[in-house]
Amino acid sequence: MDTEHIFWITSRAAGIVALLASTAGVTLGLLMSGRLVRGRTAQLRVSHEALCLATIAALVIHAGALLGDSYLSPSLADVTIPFVSGYQRVWTTTGIVAGWMLIVLGLSYYARGKIGVARWRTLHRFTALAWLLGVLHALLEGTDAGTAWFLIPAAAMVLPAGALLAQRLSATPAPQRP
């Protein structure tokens, strides 16, 4: 294998990990918030947080490794600022927006004291939107999106999460207490 491809492969692998980890994190979050699991909530919360941190690390590697790719050779602005890259501009921008949203919303957990818990909870709901944008980015721009080895495990994780999200969004809100 050519060493020139190391950064490219690393970026793709990290992108896949970011997709899988964020999907698992969203799934756990929806299971907990929908009260679909009883007990073990503390363990699930720890897993949810760890998955979030793993997603952030994978996203940083996904973008950072691209900077070392000698073929595309994107600039820092290309991989961090929406609409700068000329390479598949719409879906690259979708990925950048999703990445920043996941990072900011994920790390906002540690500032929820300052933000205010109620406001943080409202903000935290946008994580599902960020995840959806990430899924779109992976499916519509990802180099491996057409391969069975990627699609089968990705579908096995994304479809249940999507079903949980759809169920959550369609659920009738509980009546407010007086």
């Binding site: 294998m1 492969i9 896949i16 998955l51 690390a57 595309l72």
Partner: protein
């Protein structure tokens, strides 16, 4: 001054901390394993992305204009074959072909 915690409470807190650390280690280990697996599959798969047809057309053009050139005939011919199979229909070279190579990993 704060009173020291009872032994049982301390043990319970320590057990909880151990449980949390174990969960974190498992999640991070699974993440690293997934990364290594994905890396290996991509490398083994060998595909570095969709080869740009413009790259192929540039090669094909080189071939068609240099049929008699024996120094590059072998390599260029094989590239031309690949270009043909990738449904490239531009046999006439133009400067736009090579300038458009911006889209994919070769």
């Amino acid at each position: 001054m704060a009173r020291p915690l009872p032994e049982t409470t301390r043990e319970r807190l320590a057990a909880r901390a151990r449980r949390i650390a174990r969960i974190r280690r498992r999640v991070f280990a699974a993440t690293i394993a997934a990364f290594a697996l994905a890396w290996a599959v991509i490398a083994w798969n060998g595909s570095m992305g969709a080869t740009s047809t413009t790259t192929a057309s540039a090669s094909a053009t080189t071939t068609s204009s240099a049929d008699a050139a024996t120094s590059t005939a072998d390599d260029a011919t094989s590239t031309a074959d690949a270009a043909t199979s990738s449904s490239d229909d531009s046999s006439s070279g133009s400067s736009a072909d090579s300038s458009a190579i911006t889209t994919a990993q070769s």
